[in-house]
């Protein structure tokens, strides 16, 4: 059988193939990625769409967890101060109710309790980065302002709503309790009970002082119960932070298995491709000029 005398197309195809391999290997080494365009690996490129979105979300959820934690800690410490204030008010009330305190001292105690009331109101008006923490979702104005029409002397300007922060896909954590629930609940009115104690102390009636003091004890228990909410939310967020860290690790490793190149492998591929390319070129250079003419003695 006659052999194909024209080796050029074969040699060109080989050279093109070996050069394509060099280019691919070079691009992988240079970019550090095995998937630069979707056609490099359609399935990986499609999976990366979800990965890109998830990664950005997880980053933001982690930031949300951190900023929410600081906010919850601020609210929690305000609640702690309120608890201390109420404890102090109870001991003052007990002191005023024992019947041996004279009227002047009762007035002094009443002034002290009034001071406690004001400090509790100040805590209820705590803000974090410009947003009031106990106004429900009305975070732009102070929840409690002095009001002569209110029995406690302070009116609630907030609402009864709560906010939730996204800290995961489908995971929203409630981050606030409205003041109307914590401080001026119609059943257990913290501010109201303090103001009742002030009036009772001013009137000097031991029975009234006693009942007002016991109302504050109830309020203290109530506030302590409510405070648990913040503790729970904090521990929930701490757990979520750990799981977000894990998710970040997972997403990064998924990304790396999808589109990143194994550097050592890529370097080896490159050097192999170069060797193959050199061999193809050397073979072409050797074979192409070979004809019978090289061996014929030119006529004299």
């Amino acid at each position: 059988m006659r052999v194909n005398p024209n080796m050029v197309p074969d040699i060109l195809a080989d050279l093109q193939q070996s050069q394509t391999a060099v280019n691919t290997a070079l691009q992988e080494v240079a970019t550090g990625k095995s998937v630069n365009v979707p056609s490099d690996n359609p399935a990986a490129a499609a999976a990366m769409v979800q990965n890109t979105i998830e990664t950005a979300n997880v980053d933001q959820y982690t930031q949300n967890v951190n900023s929410t934690l600081s906010m919850l800690q601020t609210a929690d410490s305000s609640m702690g101060s309120v608890v201390n204030s109420l404890t102090q008010a109870i001991s003052l009330g007990t002191e005023g109710a024992n019947g041996t305190t004279n009227a002047t001292d009762l007035q002094a105690i009443a002034t002290q309790v009034q001071g406690i009331l004001e400090s509790v109101v100040a805590q209820a008006n705590t803000s974090y980065q410009g947003a009031y923490l106990f106004g429900g979702t009305k975070t732009s104005s102070a929840p409690y302002t002095a009001s002569s029409s209110s029995s406690s002397g302070y009116a609630y300007n907030g609402n009864n709503d709560v906010n939730s922060v996204a800290v995961g896909d489908d995971m929203n954590v409630q981050v606030n309790l409205p003041g109307s629930q914590v401080f001026s609940n119609s059943n257990t009115d913290v501010l109201g009970s303090l103001s009742t104690l002030v009036s009772a102390l001013q009137s000097g009636n031991p029975t009234q002082i006693k009942s007002a003091t016991s109302a504050i004890t109830t309020a203290l228990n109530y506030v302590t119960e409510q405070r648990v909410f913040y503790g729970n939310a904090e521990s929930q967020l701490n757990l979520q932070e750990t799981s977000l860290q894990q998710e970040t690790v997972n997403l990064t490793s998924q990304q790396s298995s999808l589109v990143d190149v194994d550097e050592a492998q890529a370097a080896t591929d490159l050097s192999q491709a170069e060797t193959a390319d050199n061999a193809a070129e050397a073979a072409a250079a050797k074979v192409l000029p070979n004809t019978l003419l090289n061996y014929l003695v030119p006529p004299q």
């Binding site: 052999v3 194909n4 365009v37 056609s39 490099d40 890109t52 429900g136 489908d170 929203n172 019978l292």
Partner: protein, 465 residues
């Protein structure tokens, strides 16, 4: 009459020597032409057809009649040519699709400006908003990331449409090239027919025609058959392009869809039946592949915009008003991806609040859910987009690996064709030596006979003295 036999013998040898010289010259001619055309595309090597001349019978004695050159014959394999033409059409179609989609897929690559990146920043800015609903920066972030998302959709849709119109231009250009080729082929066909009718080898004219048919097969899928009048070339679907020495030109006209349609010589629209070649590839990409991407992109843009707008409507903006549409999309879904834009003019119009108070983030969860909930298409936005990315990537990868595979095939066929028709310098050099030697030997016969003739004449004159 022994004298006659002797003289007849010398004359016969002389004429045989002359014939041998002529045949060697003819053979050398073929060799030199082969070497000269060794790199000519489409050239088919020629071999001298040499045969014995009828023998002489003189007075019952049989002597060799010498040699004769019947002509030069091109060595070709028509079947291989046909196979190469078919594969060329298929490869050229895959190449056209592949190179167009290479352009398209850059819009779906992870560049930072692509739709996936825009979705991810939009989504994370909404998550940020849920932590700080009253922060102006967080609100502005959502609005500007929403704009980026809309622009990413616009860019992808525009990229697709640009490629589509590039394909459309190519359709018109290719039809022009096809017409000019079929005209030339018809002309050569006529010449081949005349030559073969006269019992001659088509030779170089046939080579030229085959080369043009080969070029034509790059432009569109064709079917070639032989008839009494020469080759008949039709499109794969049977629309005549060349019949004998007559060519039938295709026409283009702008259809109701604004695209170039291909008509046969009778004015019938054959656009959808054209397959193979640059023309088939461009039509396929323009009418099937890109529209399918555009459709998915438009569905995603319009359904996502509606879902997000519905989420906006559930809440109240920072001014206490009911949420208005965040995205605006053209009423016609076909232009959704190209026309999607952010319709709110101020970040305060984001419907963050669920109760109308400025500090509430109650509606942010609804807004975020629009990105993760299933759309009417049955997929979440990211799934729908991921599917599209997969499809684009898969199409590019398929068309280019198809082209590579066919390329291997063509290489094999070309090798086979070359092994039949290609010029081998070694072979021609060997032939050159053979014909040179034969020529030298024939020349020696002529000069020897001439000397013998002189001797014979001298002998005669010596006798007369």
């Amino acid at each position: 009459m022994p004298d006659l036999i002797a003289m007849g013998g010398l004359n016969t040898s002389l004429s045989i020597g002359m014939q041998a010289l002529e045949v060697s010259e003819g053979a050398l001619n073929a060799t030199s032409n082969n070497i000269a055309n060794s790199n000519t595309p489409g050239y088919t090597r020629e071999i001298p057809e040499i045969s014995e001349y009828p023998e002489n019978v003189i007075s019952g004695a049989v002597t060799g009649g010498g040699v004769t050159l019947n002509g030069l014959r091109s060595v070709r394999d028509e079947l291989l040519n046909l196979q190469i033409q078919q594969q060329t059409s298929a490869q050229s179609s895959a190449d056209t699709e592949s190179s167009a989609l290479q352009q398209v897929q850059t819009y779906f690559s992870s560049t930072g400006n692509d739709i996936a990146s825009a979705f991810s920043t939009f989504s994370s800015s909404l998550a940020q908003l849920s932590a700080s609903p009253s922060s102006g920066a967080a609100q502005a972030g959502v609005m500007s990331n929403g704009k980026n998302l809309a622009q990413a959709f616009n860019a992808a849709a525009n990229g697709l449409t640009t490629e589509q119109s590039a394909m459309n231009t190519q359709v018109a250009d290719t039809v022009g090239q096809i017409n000019s080729l079929t005209e030339q082929i018809a002309q050569l066909n006529g010449q081949v027919h005349q030559l073969t009718a006269a019992g001659q080898d088509g030779g170089t004219v046939e080579d030229q025609r085959d080369e043009l048919v080969q070029q034509l097969s790059q432009l569109t899928g064709i079917s070639v058959t032989q008839s009494n009048d020469g080759e008949v070339i039709t499109t794969g679907n049977g629309t005549p392009l060349v019949m004998g020495d007559q060519s039938y030109s295709l026409q283009t006209t702008t259809g109701s869809d604004g695209m170039q349609h291909v008509l046969d010589s009778n004015g019938t629209d054959i656009t959808s039946t054209i397959q193979g070649g640059t023309l088939g590839g461009s039509i396929q990409t323009r009418d099937q592949v890109i529209p399918s991407y555009l459709k998915q992109l438009n569905t995603l843009a319009s359904q996502f915009a509606s879902a997000f707008n519905a989420a906006q409507a559930k809440g109240f903006d920072s001014n206490g008003n009911a949420g208005q549409n965040f995205f605006s999309v053209p009423a016609n879904p076909a232009g959704a991806a190209a026309g999607i834009s952010v319709s709110i003019t101020d970040p305060s119009q984001l419907a963050i609040s669920s109760d109308g108070s400025a500090g509430s983030d109650g509606n942010v969860a609804n807004l975020s859910a629009a990105l993760t909930n299933t759309l009417p298409s049955g997929q979440t936005p990211s799934q729908a987009y991921a599917n599209l990315v997969f499809q684009v990537g898969n199409d590019v990868s398929n068309s280019s690996s198809q082209s590579t595979a066919i390329g291997q095939n063509i290489l094999q066929l070309t090798n086979q064709q070359n092994s039949v028709s290609g010029v081998s310098i070694d072979e021609e050099t060997t032939n050159l030596i053979r014909y040179q030697t034969a020529y030298e030997a024939a020349a020696r016969i002529v000069s020897t006979i001439q000397q013998l003739g002189t001797v014979t004449l001298d002998m005669g004159s010596a006798q007369s003295y």
